[in-house]
């Protein structure tokens, strides 16, 4: 990392992939290698306009380039959506703590994701798949509003489902004509026997409301709060636990997170808002 934590590394957008009507993935090549752990985040700057925090969706094994999946949600993301290949950007980070993969070894990894929450999960998924033998299994339950809203469709609807050691189910809130799979919110496809709860960790990432109800369901299944990993979305700005915008209670999400166990933050009343 640069000595000045506010100094971005210069980079360039080399490819843009349309994922859904409101989501695009940007392939960014930084001028200096940026090594990150899956689950950590970076601040992506659109020069002169502003920066916003994103967890890369590419595996942590690739430090040459970084894929960042971005939903059009605010001012900076809307401007990023208007960018073309070749756009210069700045990258600060990586910041915070990623998923503690070593603690997952030998266990079933139960991943529940929704909407654009699949972005950090893609990075985790590909990193896990890269060393799939280290884990008992990877069990995925992903949801989306409609089939069109799923991101990474070409991987999700085919190749990922066929990986040995992976068990994947998908659901949509509203089906269209072609959809033959599950319909309903993601919590509807969670079953107590999806994984051996005594030897599993759960990873949850998605919109706050989905994270809340998934967590409650996992607790109901008997998951310990210390085995539920949440990737929290707050207003991370400086990335180094100083500026204060991302605080949940005493925690700075940017420095102490963004990955927390539910045990760490369960007593604060405002975590889902």
């Amino acid at each position: 990392m640069s000595e000045n934590p506010y100094q971005p590394v210069n980079g360039k957008i080399v490819d843009i992939i349309d994922e859904s009507p409101t989501i695009k993935s940007f392939v960014v090549v930084p001028e200096e290698k940026i090594k990150f752990e899956t689950g950590q985040f970076v601040e992506l700057t659109l020069p002169g306009e502003g920066e916003a925090p994103f967890t890369p969706s590419s595996p942590s094994t690739d430090s040459e380039k970084m894929e960042i999946t971005i939903m059009k949600a605010g001012r900076v993301t809307a401007l990023l959506h208007q960018c073309n290949k070749g756009q210069k950007v700045g990258i600060r980070g990586p910041f915070g703590n990623g998923y503690p993969l070593d603690d997952f070894v030998g266990k079933e990894v139960y991943i529940v994701g929704g909407g654009v929450g699949l972005a950090p999960i893609r990075s985790l998924f590909l990193t896990l798949v890269d060393r799939i033998k280290d884990f008992k299994s990877v069990v995925c339950r992903f949801g989306s509003r409609t089939p069109d809203d799923f991101i990474y469709k070409s991987d999700l609807f085919g190749p990922w489902q066929k990986i040995k050691g992976v068990n994947m189910k998908l659901t949509v809130d509203e089906a269209n004509g072609q959809w033959k799979d599950n319909v309903g919110v993601v919590t509807n496809i969670l079953e107590p026997n999806d994984v051996d709860i005594k030897n599993s960790v759960a990873v949850v990432c998605g919109p706050p409301i989905m994270m809340k109800y998934t967590t409650l369901k996992l607790l109901e299944f008997g998951f310990g709060a210390e085995n539920i990993y949440l990737s929290m979305e707050k207003n991370m700005s400086c990335g180094i636990g100083k500026c204060g915008h991302c605080m949940i209670g005493k925690f700075y999400v940017c420095k102490d997170g963004p990955v927390f166990t539910y045990e760490q933050i369960k007593n604060y009343p405002d975590i889902w808002e």
Binding site: N4, N10, E233, C243, M247, G249, D270
Partner: protein
């Protein structure tokens, strides 16, 4: 080196100003603010009896500063030695707090550290604590205990100057011709003054005395509606956080210049409605009372858990400045009484 005596401030301040830029308190209306010292000005310098209105944080962590230039980085600005005169014990404690944040963790703020290293601190005893001063709630004293280069104590016929660091010792040695020895009687007078001021401070705050340790009060008050009730008079001007010597939240923003881009760092306030909001619209503290609660929780509980000290020095500036008349002592007192009524005096701490 023993404390030394000088009858007038001007020769002493002139000697400091010869070496570096010197900032001194100047009365503006009923308050003191800092101004650059001009040795040639005819006006005599007076020693502020009470802390200044503006805070020492402005010297270390300016309202707005350049954080980065890109795509081609530039060397950070050069910081020259400077001196600040008239700081009080509460100001020194606030520096200690800012040091924890910007200079003592794995990420160090280069500009802050440079300013800190180049700052020559001349503190002074409090003489006439304000109605809002409540440093005694945080074990504060009416005189500087540590963290100064030189300390000045006003007595009837002059000033006692004492060194608190090597830099301070060096200064006194170099300018020994300006000073005389301090007889024991004058030191006794100084100690008497200090006791008197401390007593006055305690008297001023008698009506706000708490039965429960402050951290326990705040940690037990998650459910209390006192925050919502107190916040009713808040007009969200954010003055409390800006005038606070320990509040250090900031906002990073980008600018476009002719042939380069910048990242700027500017003070921010957790009392601002959109402060914690994310682009998607979620906001953990939409309600004003929740923001007041977060501000006090951060100051009196979270910061302590992380750094081992309170993030409030009891300077009372937030009380003086609040357009809605919110008094932190009164908030704490109400929470204290509420807990006492419920018979809850033990801490139920959120880990």
């Amino acid at each position: 080196m023993k404390p030394v005596f000088i009858s007038k401030l001007k020769p002493f301040l002139d000697a400091v100003a010869e070496q570096m830029a010197l900032f001194v308190p100047k009365k503006s209306g009923e308050h003191y603010t800092y101004n650059k010292y001009d040795p040639d000005a005819e006006i005599s310098v007076e020693l502020n009896n009470i802390r200044t209105c503006t805070t020492v944080k402005e010297f270390l962590f300016p309202v707005c500063e350049l954080a980065a230039v890109f795509p081609d980085p530039v060397e950070p600005e050069e910081i020259k030695p400077f001196a600040v005169f008239g700081l009080k014990e509460c100001d020194l404690r606030s520096i200690e707090i800012l040091d924890k944040v910007f200079a003592e963790e794995e990420f160090q703020d280069t500009l802050y550290i440079k300013r800190r290293e180049n700052m020559f601190i001349i503190s002074s005893d409090c003489f006439d604590p304000g109605e809002s001063c409540f440093c005694n709630f945080f074990n504060g004293q009416a005189f500087a205990q540590s963290g100064f280069d030189l300390n000045v104590s006003k007595i009837r016929d002059g000033f006692i100057v004492e060194a608190g660091s090597d830099k301070g010792e060096e200064f006194l040695e170099k300018h020994s011709q300006l000073f005389n020895d301090t007889p024991e009687t004058l030191l006794a007078e100084r100690d008497e003054n200090r006791k008197k001021t401390q007593k006055q401070l305690e008297q001023n705050n008698a009506e706000y005395l708490l039965d429960i340790p402050i951290k326990n009060i705040i940690e037990n008050s998650w459910e209390s509606d006192v925050f919502d009730v107190e916040a009713k008079d808040c007009v969200e001007c954010q003055a409390c956080t800006r005038i606070c010597p320990t509040c250090h939240c900031f906002y990073l923003y980008d600018t476009k210049q002719k042939d380069y881009f910048t990242k700027m760092k500017m003070w921010d306030s957790c009392m601002r409605q959109a402060y914690a909001a994310v682009a998607g619209g979620a906001n953990p503290r939409k309600i004003l009372g929740d923001r007041l609660k977060h501000r006090l929780m951060h100051k009196l509980a979270y910061f302590f858990d992380r750094y081992g000290l309170d993030m409030c020095v009891g300077c009372g500036r937030c009380i003086d400045t609040c357009a809605g008349g919110i008094d932190m002592r009164m908030v704490l007192k109400k929470l204290n009484d509420e807990l006492k009524d419920k018979g809850k005096t033990e801490a139920k701490v959120i880990k």
